[in-house]
């Protein structure tokens, strides 16, 4: 049953990065567009994301709930030491969700749209950066595990774990990844003339992912980050990374040929490989702290809890996944059919 729970944990993490990420990315793409293109993007985002974006963000709730039920120690370290970035993520999620609804459901269209748009774009960029910083903090080796947190200074316990160059780089990396996912998605959702914009955005985002990724590794290598060193010594991780890079070729071809589903599949697969490479390089030690590594498999809830959670996840999954698939499919398919 533990493996069922682990599967769902990874599954919801992946889906959140993929679906939630594409959702954040849409706002980032809009932010880095010219005025004219912003209008087009806004309309496209509403059409594509409107029916599904709430569902996309529920993955993070599932993720958090699995964490606190099955891996309470892990969750405890996160909420204590990363209180500040998590709070900022929350505020970002809140403002972004509200801005999305306001700009599309407000009965009157007037100047207040500018405010909603601004809120939407800024929070779309900031939220994934801080979320990425949380991921970064967990592997940065800057968290210090002690019996009594009050023996540490405020800076040591609550700032340094996430406010460091490495974590910030991971944050930027994640934001670039979101923009990449979203522009690939948007290519397939727009008219020929418009899709050129998103092809450009996708290329630009790919470059950003690559450059920031490279800087992160170089920085991590020279400043001897355990995560980076282990990653570079792990044959599997390197291979997976390499595969993910190679996939850019079929991605380009499918985009040029206008194969929507296949290009999305490749982009999703690339992100999957990157995530897998990162997880595998240290598994099962998921949190790397200053004085120890926290093994995901060592600090779990009692068997009875894992069993019940596993069963609920299986039942929930069988109810939700077909419905979600149908939702994603119906609206995308309907739109594509309508246009043709």
């Amino acid at each position: 049953m533990l493996y069922v729970v682990l599967f769902f944990l990874m599954f919801s993490l992946y889906l959140y990065i993929l679906l939630g990420g594409a959702d954040y990315g849409a706002g980032i793409v809009e932010l880095f567009s010219s005025k004219e293109n912003q209008k087009i993007t806004k309309k496209t985002i509403y059409r594509v994301m409107g029916p599904v974006w709430e569902a996309n963000h529920i993955w993070i709730i599932i993720l958090i709930v699995i964490l606190w039920i099955a891996f309470p120690v892990y969750y405890n370290i996160m909420v204590v030491h990363l209180h500040i970035p998590l709070t900022i993520v929350l505020l970002g999620v809140t403002l972004r969700g509200v801005a999305f609804v306001f700009r599309h459901y407000d009965a009157v269209i007037d100047d207040s749209q500018k405010l909603y748009d601004g809120m939407f774009k800024i929070s779309s960029l900031m939220t994934p950066i801080f979320l990425g910083m949380v991921f970064g903090a967990l592997i940065s080796g800057k968290i210090k595990i002690v019996e009594d947190v009050s023996t540490l200074t405020f800076y040591e316990a609550f700032i340094r774990p996430w406010f460091n160059v490495f974590s910030i780089l991971v944050g930027l990396f994640f934001a670039a990844l979101c923009a990449f996912l979203s522009s690939v998605l948007l290519i397939g959702e727009s008219e020929k003339t418009v899709s050129k914009i998103y092809i450009m955005k996708a290329s630009f985002a790919t470059m950003m992912v690559f450059i920031i990724g490279l800087i992160t590794f170089i920085y991590g290598y020279f400043f001897q980050y355990v995560f980076v060193q282990d990653f570079l010594q792990n044959g599997y991780s390197i291979t997976l990374m390499f595969l993910s890079g190679i996939l850019l070729v079929p991605l380009r071809i499918t985009i040029r040929k206008g194969r929507r589903v296949l290009s999305r599949f490749f982009a999703g697969l690339q992100v999957f490989l990157i995530l897998l490479a990162a997880l595998i390089s240290h598994f099962p030690d998921i949190i790397i702290t200053e004085n120890s590594s926290i093994n995901l498999l060592d600090n779990i809830a009692p068997d009875s809890v894992i069993k019940v959670l596993g069963i609920s996840l299986i039942i929930g999954g069988t109810v939700i996944l077909p419905g979600l698939f149908h939702l994603l499919k119906s609206f995308k398919m309907i739109k594509i059919l309508e246009r043709n």
């Binding site: 958090i64 709930v65 809140t94 009965a107 947190v149 809830a301 009875s304 609920s312």
Partner: protein, 433 residues
């Protein structure tokens, strides 16, 4: 401000908002579905306009409820890490099921909002039903988790360790049913009266009277039925609390000394120093009867409990008085509505509409007061008799800043949502009229 106080205030503050959003998001789909049903039956355009306008309300409240709910799922850990470390695995069951129910609701909402003219009519209508049912299910599950804090079961507490955890037993704790029943009825009462009140105001102002009258009727029917049933659930809750958390009952009634044939205090001002309740109305033997079904039964007083195990008596007592007072008022208003169905000419009297306008916020005031009774009444415990709230709070100092940020953000958001709703109604009134 102490860290503990700041954390409690932040939790209370976000919950107060979330409860309103969540209740409306949970109950309004039912109004929408009824109106939608009438549109399908009668093909009367007014019902279609009403359904579409309510669906926007549902969408807006669903999202605000969802984001404030996401915030809460994090805040539980961010503010109370020690609590979640131990309680998380035990009460995970209702939360994971709630996650699933909520997911189903989001999927159904996606279908419903974007399904007009695309999905088969009956299936489209049915997705509306799913929104409502899964919303209520989520509500019940979250309340079950709260019930566990009041009546922790499903584990053995040995030497400060939680052993032999049984998550199903924890979910089906002794308090879950009474609390869930009371809360579900309260959600229907509060939302019913609030939505009815908004439409009553439009009738009062003579704007699109036909539409708003129909909207009023649908909403108030739900609200009135729930308000009439609520006293039964209240009675079950009172008897349950008398057994399980006598100190909470004593605080609700500001009842200091243990006695047989205890009187019921209505109103009054609590003086904690002299242990007196001044200016109250006392009904002899009534508290004993309500708590145990026997006028002579012994009711435990606050003085039977150590000082550091008592909640803030005045706050709990006042909140309880407000809840019961408003509950009674809405019960009468509910009966009045059903009487008015027989006396059609009341509908032409503007004072009738004004009355329901004034009642609009009452349900929610009672509902919040009720939560103050449960939550403040549980103090100083975060897990009744197992863990104190002060031992669960985060070690991170400066929570007060996070509290202020939340206050600013949430207040701004509520002003914005209210403003958005007003614009919605304005546009509705000017369309096709």
């Amino acid at each position: 401000m102490e860290n503990l106080d700041a954390a409690r205030l932040q939790m209370a503050f976000t919950l107060i908002f979330h409860i309103v959003f969540a209740c409306i998001g949970m109950v309004m789909p039912f109004f929408m579905v009824v109106s939608h049903y009438k549109w399908l039956k009668t093909r009367d355009k007014i019902y279609l306009t009403l359904t579409k306008s309510w669906q926007k309300g549902v969408a807006i409240f669903f999202v605000t409820g969802a984001v404030s709910g996401t915030a809460l799922s994090f805040e539980l850990g961010l503010l109370w890490p020690e609590f979640m470390k131990h309680a998380g695995p035990i009460i995970g069951m209702p939360f994971s099921l709630e996650g699933a129910a909520f997911f189903v609701e989001a999927i159904a909402l996606g279908f419903y909002l974007y399904g007009w003219n695309k999905l088969p009519e009956k299936f489209h209508w049915f997705t509306g039903i799913i929104i409502g049912v899964s919303g209520v299910a989520s509500g019940i599950l979250v309340v079950a988790a709260n019930g566990w804090m009041n009546s922790p079961t499903g584990f053995d507490y040995i030497d400060g360790k939680f052993l032999n955890i049984n998550p199903i037993q924890a979910m089906l704790n002794p308090a879950w049913f009474t609390q869930a029943l009371h809360m579900t009825l309260a959600a229907f009462t509060a939302t019913g009266f609030a939505v009815a009140g908004i439409h009553a105001y439009q009738v009062y102002k003579k704007r699109r009277v036909e539409l708003h009258k129909r909207a009023f009727k649908i909403a108030i029917t739900f609200g009135a039925i729930a308000a009439i049933l609520q006293p039964i659930s209240g009675d079950i809750s009172a008897k349950d609390i008398a057994k399980r958390q006598p100190v909470k009952l004593a605080a609700m009634e500001a009842h200091y000394n243990t006695e047989k044939g205890a009187p019921l205090y209505i109103g009054g001002i609590v003086d904690n120093e002299t242990q007196n309740v001044n200016y109250k109305i006392a009904i002899p033997g009534m508290l004993s009867f309500l708590a145990f079904g026997d006028f002579d039964a012994e009711v435990k007083g606050l003085n039977d409990f150590p000082l550091d195990e008592r909640p803030n008596v005045a706050m709990v007592h006042y909140a309880f008085q407000i809840m019961v007072g408003i509950g009674t008022l809405l019960l009468c208003a509910g009966i009045l509505y059903f009487v008015s169905l027989k006396r059609k000419k009341w509908f032409t009297n503007n004072k009738y509409w004004l009355l329901f306008v004034l009642l609009a916020p009452m349900g929610f005031i009672a509902l919040e007061a009720g939560w103050i009774v449960t939550e403040v009444g549980r103090q100083p415990w975060i897990i009744h008799k197992i863990m104190r709230t002060k031992d669960a709070v985060t070690p991170m100092p400066g929570i007060v800043f996070s509290f202020y940020t939340y206050v600013v953000v949430y207040l701004t958001l509520s002003i914005a949502v209210t403003w958005l709703m007003l614009r919605q109604i304005k546009v509705l009134n000017h369309s096709n009229s």
